[in-house]
Subunit: 203 residues, 2 copies
Amino acid sequence: MRISELSAASSVPVATIKYYLRERLLPEGRRSSATQATYGDAHVARLGVIRALVDSGVGIAGVRKVIAVLDDPPDDPYEILGAANGAVTPEAPDDIDLGAASALIDRMGGDADACFPEQVAAVAHALATLERAGFVVPPDVMTAYLRGLTSMADAELAATPIDSPEESVRYVVLGTVLVEPLILALRRVAEQIAAARQFGARR
Amino acid sequence: MRISELSAASSVPVATIKYYLRERLLPEGRRSSATQATYGDAHVARLGVIRALVDSGVGIAGVRKVIAVLDDPPDDPYEILGAANGAVTPEAPDDIDLGAASALIDRMGGDADACFPEQVAAVAHALATLERAGFVVPPDVMTAYLRGLTSMADAELAATPIDSPEESVRYVVLGTVLVEPLILALRRVAEQIAAARQFGARR
């Protein structure tokens, strides 16, 4: 299909498609003439992934990293997850104290030294942000977080498609990043349902 | 204290403090002369909240809404949560299909019609984003999400301080927004721990 048809099929404006082509986020189409190229379903699918990442707040640099993982999957499924995380986890300051983060990871049955450093730093950074705001997560609540997130992650990993590496990469990369807005949105609803139970909804 | 001392105490640059003053995110200090004002611990605390919200990716408009809730708490604890959510939940398009979102809310024991509309729309928007990317959350995984988030929300609400309205507003508003980066960061770690269990860490 032509770029105009690709735009229609993906509901992404032609100008935006050209931007993604310039940014090398989208592979070039097959040249059909000096001035025209034709695109296929792979381009539609790729645009869907790019848009979803952008809609999820991932920057162009992060999108590029995710696409690099999708295009050239690591052999080791365990490395796939690290690549996915690394692609979308912002750099945290090196001087950050990892003590409290390591303790939480330990409670989840993990080992901070075996975790990808940017993940541990991200936890530490989140804890530091809370401390800066003078907000303390009650112990019982933190325990509920660790348990809930562990059970969620176990279910996610148990459902990882293993027949094709491409499929498992796609599942891990997109399942890690794209699902975040859903989890946050569902959390807000779960909080309201719990609030209605506890305080009683006047509705 | 003077603005320079406020800056030192809050580690927020003077220029940024002046910006927050202009934006009315920070209350004016007490005028000590035509050109000087003095600030107190309340200003330090407020700056901590503002910085934490900004660090969490909340825009100035969202910060302003959160502060409005903190400054003038609703009487009904149930309304507090809605105000907190409304303050930080972006508007979703009206034409979005709420069917799938309502079904998930129903499975969590809630009623979409009794939920704050922007919450339901946020879930629907997140689902639409996943669909656009061609990503399907496996049924068992979705079930784990609903269960995990419900147990987390129950723990959060059970720990809500009820002695003072200010405290409960602060807990709900900050606990809803500021904890999100921690939850996402812990989720990444939980996924890696689960991956190490399932695929075996080569480390």
